[in-house]
Symmetry: C2
Amino acid sequence: MRTWDTVAIIGVGLIGGSIGLALRERKLARQIVGIGRRPESLEKALSLGCVSQISTSIAEGVKQAEIVVVCTPVESIAQQVAESAAAAPAGCVITDAGSTKTQLVADTEQALATKFPHHVPFVGSHPIAGREQSGPDAATADLLDHRVVVMTPTDRSDPAAVAAIEQFWTSLGADVVKMDPHSHDAIVALTSHLPHLVASALAATTPGSSESQPLIGNGWADTTRIAAGDPELWRQILLANRGPTLKALADFETVLSTWRHALESGDGQLVTALLKEGKSRRDAVGS
Amino acid sequence: MRTWDTVAIIGVGLIGGSIGLALRERKLARQIVGIGRRPESLEKALSLGCVSQISTSIAEGVKQAEIVVVCTPVESIAQQVAESAAAAPAGCVITDAGSTKTQLVADTEQALATKFPHHVPFVGSHPIAGREQSGPDAATADLLDHRVVVMTPTDRSDPAAVAAIEQFWTSLGADVVKMDPHSHDAIVALTSHLPHLVASALAATTPGSSESQPLIGNGWADTTRIAAGDPELWRQILLANRGPTLKALADFETVLSTWRHALESGDGQLVTALLKEGKSRRDAVGS
């Protein structure tokens, strides 16, 4: 198993903190530098053992790094990759943990190609390991264990950097899947962004009256759980991927209109067919 | 704590089986008669300890019962309550565990008033304790513990029967809430039936391709979990409550159309407002 002298993590929340904990538990890095804007968050991550050093400066924090992982909200990532590339040593490779990829990867590759000819390469990543909780308190050393990390290399990606980043995620116990940024965004619109939108809309549809509260059961709780996620993080994700998400919403609305027709006409066979289709897709995934 | 000599449970699946297990564990009944059509299901429930006797005949099974609980799919309940009333001894009270109430309670009260003047009273109930699993294998002695059971007495209900049924559910650890059948059905349309429809439609919208499967995470799994429920049970529930469910669906579609507008126009403030509204409703309920 390869180890690293120094890994820098920009943004030590749920994902960044979990990466730090996993690196420590697996003894994969001598130094883990946590980088962020807010000293209190960094102190928290340090006290939880997510990182071994902290810095509020990207330029300072990455200067010895062999790997930089940017785990901040999607709107911040491109800029922070560029700042990292400007300060990181030769041989360093950069990745991220953003939930959307098309625009971010295009912006980042463009910036690196034009501004940083000394070539610190970037390859986009997306760990499929979200939760409704956020922050370093929610971090766990096994968050990525046996989870999928999607990598989105392009024809501009450095093959050695792709291999290095793949090795990094694999070392943390993750299974790497590679696809182009467009395919990634179209799929997560359906598997992640539409479910978030739907869970939120469903929660908002439910009356908050004291009479209804006792009639809320496990089904509602499961179906709306992710609506408790951070609105600011999710605003950024949904806006960054709004084209594919609107397409996914249209697909969903088509199924809903069949449901409406089935109920309005009292068509039991159609209701059963719809329920069986949903069950079949759900059963194929498992718990 | 009051105890009963004989309780009859018609339908020993998840709910009926769990009632039997709770009665035994709490030593609340000397005899628990499991009644059903299929001998193999009854044998299973007997071997799991859910019931102490079994019968494929309602007339036989209820003849010593002080309480009859009908836990079959909603379309069967009215008929089985009538059969129970015809055979049960004086002093027996009947309730059910159906997820919809308006039509069922009206049909049942009508049948009992006209056909069974010797008056074995019925009061409708609905334990808010569903799961995606079904059958006696999924039954647990604590399924109703600290859960809500809605009772739906009407102005035709016998007050002594209401008190007896309330005592029964309370003895099993449940918290009883009373409301009229119409209010119950309007609320569960929003808290249970719409979530089921939405979870099913969301699962059906997700592509089953091998490329998408690895990108399915916990969020999708939570949001679609109840889509794995029994299609036949849910067809009956959704058709029995289709008016209120269509109204709930219309409310949901209104929220979705605001979402569509927010994404189409790239209105970040509106996206944030929608996410905050969903989070606020979700946070008010807790895990």
